[in-house]
């Protein structure tokens, strides 16, 4: 790996800005649900913030993202505006999907957030198509499919990686391995010692990286993105992380190993990056406190904006099913 690939201090600070936003947004989401202000199926991503924060440091707004039901961190890192996000998860007309998608189907093409799927494994075939569009038009955009470790066991993973390899598509398959597929531990469901090893079956590069390490994660993502832009085809990245909470908010996560969970939470990657920034003189305590205060304020505003936004008219039930024929 080239040493000059970075990240420099400014990039690391940018990664922290994103990660702090993601962490605060998850904490607020769980609070808003707990206090009964919003009702929705919520899939907490707490603990996985560094992965998309580091990835998106090397993506442009024009690059494509296909993410999954546990993907609000991916979207926020890619630039989904907070007001549009919160109004959507509140089911309101000002939501990015007019309240018709909800937390599992958030979409925001203006920032390249093309599809969010609630079906395990389905981000990959569609990301291939977006990458094929880039290849056809020569516009140099890359597509990223994110998915969990569980999705590497479904057929769509195999079909997608094979086609992407054969067609040399500018796509990055980003597996966020949080060690649990729904309630089932990695070892009980996955034959491969590591998911990255599966790349060999498609003759594409596969790397396992500590997804909670912003430097490593940034470098691996950057390499894969550069490779895709250079026309050298897809990469499988297995970013190791840990999901702090259960599969869906409200489950008691009794199936998770308590010691493993306690250790992961102890090693919380977001405050770890915060300490690193201060220790290395990249930012001061005051600067970071200000960033965090601004984030809280923008989330306050987004929640209030969402709850003040009207609920959709019932006519929306049957609009957007079809478009107007040309």
């Amino acid at each position: 790996m080239a040493d000059n690939i970075g990240p420099d201090g400014e990039t690391l600070l940018g990664i922290y800005r994103r990660a702090a936003l993601l962490k605060a947004n998850d904490e607020r989401s769980r609070k808003v649900i707990t206090t009964g202000r919003l009702v929705m199926p919520y899939y907490s991503y707490r603990g996985q913030e560094i992965i998309p924060s580091a990835l998106c440091a090397s993506l442009t707004d024009d690059d494509y993202l296909v993410t999954i039901y546990r993907g609000i961190h991916d979207m926020l890192a890619k630039g989904m505006p907070l007001n549009d996000l919160w109004a959507e998860i509140a089911g309101r007309v000002d939501g990015t999907c007019k309240g018709k998608g909800g937390p599992m189907h958030l979409t925001y093409p203006k920032k390249g957030i093309m599809v969010t799927t609630g079906i395990v494994g389905s981000s990959m075939p569609i990301a291939n198509g977006l990458a094929w569009g880039s290849q056809l038009s020569g516009n140099n955009r890359v597509a990223v499919a994110t998915f969990g470790d569980g999705a590497s066991n479904i057929g769509a993973f195999h079909e997608s990686l094979n086609m992407a390899a054969v067609w040399k598509l500018p796509v990055i398959f980003l597996c966020q391995n949080n060690l649990y597929g729904e309630h089932t531990a990695y070892e009980k469901a996955t034959s491969a010692k590591q998911i990255a090893d599966r790349a060999a079956g498609y003759s594409i590069p596969g790397v396992r990286v500590d997804g909670n390490d912003p430097v490593e994660m940034y470098r691996m993502a950057r390499e894969a993105i550069d490779r895709a832009r250079a026309g050298e085809g897809p990469t499988l990245i297995e970013a190791m992380t840990f999901r702090f909470h259960g599969h869906v908010f409200g489950d008691a996560d009794g199936y998770m190993d308590k010691a493993q969970k306690a250790a992961a939470m102890e090693a919380d990657p977001v405050p770890r990056l915060r300490r690193k920034l201060i220790d290395e003189g990249i930012a001061t305590e005051e600067q970071l406190a200000q960033i965090e205060a601004d984030i809280e304020e923008s989330i306050d505003a987004a929640v209030e904006f969402a709850l003040a936004s009207p609920l959709p008219e019932l006519s929306e039930l049957t609009t957007d099913v079809y478009g107007e024929a040309a």
Partner: protein, 340 residues
């Protein structure tokens, strides 16, 4: 393959008599000529792979290049996923799923994604793809190669479903399907590929959702589509011999189906028979029968009748296969019995 597929022609020219297969091929070629965003993908679709197992896309990659006409792995989820993704960024993919039974492998992509992305995104994205697929009994291909599954897709909000019965409609529906802003399943009947039909205008468009009166009549309305429509036309002589004048409606688009044309005809004749090759139970005929029975309650002279395949998988053995799909004889018998 006919010269009409490859030679240049003036825009308003008449297309000479061609087969279904040639009409489909020409419609895709003309759409590709008109819009560089039209691309083709599927198993074996490019010329080195002989333009598909039956040759429907033959000549297209030679003319437009293998970048725009791309043979794929045998991987139906990946095929439809690639079509969906490319359609989200401005392309108009025509994806081939070789046989209708193979759509089952891609159902998640079709039903959960292609059909729903417009709605779930609040209209921010849409999926203008055409999924071509062939099916139909007649070649002893048994239980997994010739089902008519159109009702599944018609039941999925966001999908459109078409099934031409003749070359002119095959051309016109394909052009309309490619122009359409939503996903369209385009059903081709395998034994009909080599049938010839009337000539038609180049750039002929058949709007989606519009049925055609294939034959006028006064005693009974027969609604059908795809190959079964031609069986209904083949039943005319026997019906006339029995003194029954049938009006035959070619649905052409299965979803959204043309209620106005069907109900106007059934109101006129007072009798309605729906015939299709798909299994009769829970089929398209049930939907049409329910709507007609409700909207024409009191105006019909007989209960609405349906004629479809038995509730069984498609059999292999020839006499069983021959007895499976409704044919001209059975349609004539059903229509005559309805008029008694």
């Amino acid at each position: 393959m006919s010269d009409t597929l490859t030679s240049e022609k003036p825009a308003a020219a008449k297309v000479a008599q061609v087969t279904m297969l040639q009409a489909i091929n020409q419609a895709i070629a003309d759409a590709m000529e008109a819009d560089e965003h039209v691309v083709v993908l599927g198993e074996d679709v490019a010329d080195p792979e002989e333009g598909g197992v039956v040759g429907v896309t033959k000549g297209l990659s030679g003319r437009f290049g293998e970048k725009r006409v791309r043979s794929t792995p045998i991987a139906e989820q990946a095929i439809i996923g690639a079509a969906i993704g490319a359609s989200l960024v401005g392309y108009k993919p025509v994806a081939e799923i070789m046989l209708m039974n193979f759509t089952t492998v891609a159902m998640d992509m079709i039903v959960n994604h292609a059909a729903k992305l417009r709605f779930m995104s609040g209209g921010q994205t849409h999926v203008p793809i055409v999924i071509r697929t062939m099916t139909g009994t007649g070649f002893s291909s048994g239980g997994q190669h010739c089902d008519y599954l159109e009702a599944w897709f018609a039941h999925t909000a966001g999908m459109k479903v078409v099934a031409p019965s003749n070359p002119a409609d095959a051309y016109g529906l394909m052009r309309a399907a490619i122009n359409d802003p939503d996903p369209v399943l385009y059903i081709e009947n395998m034994p009909s590929y080599w049938m010839k039909g009337d000539s038609f205008d180049a750039d002929h468009i058949v709007p989606l959702g519009k049925a055609a009166v294939a034959k006028e009549g006064g005693d009974v309305t027969i609604v059908s589509y795809s190959r079964t429509l031609n069986e209904a036309l083949g039943a005319v002589k026997a019906m006339e011999a029995a003194g029954v004048s049938a009006e035959i409606i070619d649905l052409r688009t299965i979803s959204p189906w043309d209620e106005d044309t069907v109900l106007a005809s059934a109101a006129k004749t007072g009798r309605l028979l729906i015939a299709h090759e798909a299994v009769e139970k829970h089929g398209m005929g049930a939907e049409i029968a329910a709507v007609a029975s409700t909207k024409l309650f009191g105006k019909l002279k007989a209960p609405v009748a349906r004629l479809g395949a038995p509730y069984a998988p498609v059999p292999f053995s020839k006499p069983l296969e021959d007895a499976f799909a409704p044919n001209a004889k059975r349609i004539a018998e059903a229509a005559i019995s309805l008029c008694k």
